[in-house]
């Protein structure tokens, strides 16, 4: 266990070095969050009743999404891992007394969290100061406040477990770019990154909730803003737990198979 903690630490610290990138990210996310909210405002002005969430809930959703973007961004991958696979440096990692899957999993968590740590506080702080329906509010209820962190953690694990599958695919494809682009566009949509899932038509939502992607950012944010009643929240979290276990098992199994016939590239 200690070795994985050390792994986490070294990657986390390395991630904290990039301060300028963090400031740039904060600026971008403000602009993006602000634009989204203004856009929704225009829609909401045409009639409140047609929408599944209140405007203030939606604002909170968007600001949470921006603040914790790095935890759930689907287009982000650790290029080092792809490099290791395609260039053959993975040889070093294979001759360590470690489980490669766990090592990469931890590394991914660390790099994403290091980005969030630098970015979330300023965004949340400013968004909290914005005037009422445009800013971020406190959790909808005590229940929401208690369930939200657990659901965040589960959603984060689902995200990382899923991205592990993309990393492992690089063993088979040499160039991981094709898989990445495909996965990114589909996933961003299905995870509620572009549009919160409650906004989708009634016939499509059940399908989306059955997929692992709804268990990433969607569940914790909907709990936070109070869109999920207590029962829905627990149901959503059971689903999250299911996907964490399923995706990790899938990833581990696939990785073991990949490593058996691995060809270390170059020299």
């Amino acid at each position: 266990m200690r070795k994985y903690l050390s792994f986490f630490r070294i990657r986390f610290l390395a991630g904290l070095q990039y301060r300028a990138a963090a400031w740039a990210g904060i600026a971008t996310q403000f602009a993006w969050g602000g634009m989204s909210i203004l856009m929704y405002r225009a829609f909401y002005q045409s009639g409140q009743s047609a929408f599944p969430m209140e405007f203030s809930q939606l604002s909170s959703y968007i600001w949470m999404q921006q603040a914790f973007l790095a935890m759930f961004m689907v287009w982000f991958y650790d290029n080092e891992i792809f490099d290791h696979i395609t260039s053959g440096s993975i040889a070093y990692e294979l001759c360590r007394p470690c489980d490669l899957y766990s090592m990469w999993f931890v590394k991914n968590m660390a790099i994403r969290l290091s980005r969030v740590v630098l970015r979330c506080a300023p965004i949340l702080l400013v968004a909290a100061l914005l005037p009422a329906p445009y800013g971020v509010t406190l959790p909808a209820s005590l229940e929401a406040a208690l369930l939200f962190p657990i659901s965040m953690l589960l959603g984060f694990l689902v995200m990382v477990a899923f991205s592990m599958l993309v990393y492992i695919s690089a063993f088979y494809t040499i160039s991981p770019n094709g898989v990445r682009i495909l996965v990114t566009s589909v996933l961003e949509f299905l995870a509620g990154g572009v549009l919160p899932i409650p906004f989708f038509p009634d016939w499509l939502r059940p399908v989306m909730y059955a997929l692992p992607f709804a268990s990433m950012q969607n569940t914790p944010y909907l709990i936070y803003v109070g869109h999920f009643a207590a029962g829905d929240a627990l149901g959503g979290m059971v689903m999250q737990l299911f996907w964490v276990i399923a995706l990790v098992l899938m990833g581990k199994g696939w990785m073991n198979r990949a490593l058996k016939k691995v060809v270390v590239q170059g020299g």
Binding site: R2, K3, L5, S6, F7, I10, L13, A14, Q17, S87, G88, S89, A91, Y92, L94, C95, R96, P97, C98, K260, V262, V263, V264, G266, G267
Partner: protein, 324 residues
């Protein structure tokens, strides 16, 4: 103790002809060729030995190292290292080996080297006391005390390589694999690396297996050589054996006072000018001691040295002999 028996490994490599048409065809049906990286490799290495594992590019050196370090699984054959099969008991096996791949890095690029060392300490669960002692010894021997606080990305190649070697020895491995450790290094760094490898082999009894294209590495370090070519072990013996096997010719370089050296008929003159002569002789016809006795009796010798065939030439001729 390392023992390999009849190890084979074949790779499948996708292949297509040049041109658009062939590329389009490859979209639907890929053609593969089989590359027999290792065919029937067997050898045995005892504890504390220092082995030079040589061979031309693509001969199968790296594949063998990867099999011995548990990274690759061979198609068939047996491999026992300290009583374990590397790819079956990977975790236990790698705890006892250290590996340096000269062309890759194990140090974390953007953090100080010492952080990488500490990570490696935790990965191998090296007890704190042992870690401190090893770190102290290694920093002193490799002279890296000053540079371990620098991020790896800012190190020169020579500095980095010394850190890489230190990193692979922090957990006191019984076997050290060095895959081209001196590649791209300048003369000073090469010598530092060689001296260090010699020291740990002598003092800690670490078994060292070294692959290299640098014949000076071989000459300076190893007593036993394994020559591999086209996936087969071609030669297994000492450097001296290899040298004598190949050639009985020696070159005598003599500095003397006088006009011209009086020679015996078995001696061939390559050069004789201003008191400096180079003479080639066949040791089967005339022994070196006889030749030296003759020369020193006939002239006042200031300096004399004997050189065998240059080891680079030796290896090239061996490669030729085996049609590599």
């Amino acid at each position: 103790m390392i023992e390999l028996k009849n190890i084979r490994k074949t790779f499948r490599v996708a292949k297509r002809n040049a041109g658009l048409k062939a590329a389009a065809k490859a979209l639907f049906r890929k053609e593969y060729t089989e590359i027999h990286a290792l065919q029937d490799v067997s050898f045995k290495i005892n504890d504390g030995e220092m082995i030079g594992y040589i061979g031309p590019n693509g001969a199968g050196k790296s594949s063998t190292i990867k099999i011995m370090s548990g990274v690759l699984t061979p198609d068939s054959g047996e491999c026992l290292i300290n009583g374990r099969v590397p790819w079956k008991e990977r975790a236990a096996h790698v705890q006892e080996i250290g590996v340096v791949f000269g062309q890759r890095s194990q140090l974390w690029w953007d953090v100080p080297v010492i952080d990488s060392f500490e990570l490696i300490r935790d990965i191998y669960r090296v007890p704190e006391e042992k870690y401190r002692k090893n770190l102290e010894d290694l920093t002193e021997l490799l002279d890296i005390g000053e540079i371990v606080k620098t991020p790896a990305r800012q190190l020169s190649l020579g500095q980095r390589m010394r850190c890489e070697i230190a990193a692979s020895l922090l957990h006191d491995p019984r076997i050290l694999f060095l895959d081209e450790p001196t590649i791209g290094l300048d003369a000073v760094s090469k010598i530092a690396v060689r001296d260090f490898v010699k020291t740990i082999n002598r003092e800690k009894g670490t078994t060292v297996i070294l692959t290299t294209h640098d014949m000076q590495d071989i000459e300076a370090l190893t007593e036993r050589i394994l020559l591999i070519g086209k996936g087969k072990i071609l030669l297994d013996g000492s450097l001296e054996q290899l040298k004598s096997r190949k050639s009985t010719h020696r070159t005598l370089t003599v500095d003397y006072v006088g006009e011209r050296l009086p020679l015996l008929p078995e001696m061939q003159v390559k050069k004789d000018l201003d008191g400096h002569a180079e003479i080639v002789l066949d040791t089967e016809k005339l022994s070196i001691s006889d030749a030296i006795a003759h020369i020193s009796a006939a002239a006042e010798v200031k300096d004399i040295s004997v050189a065998g065939e240059n080891i680079d030439d030796l290896v090239v001729s061996l490669y030729k002999e085996f049609a590599l």
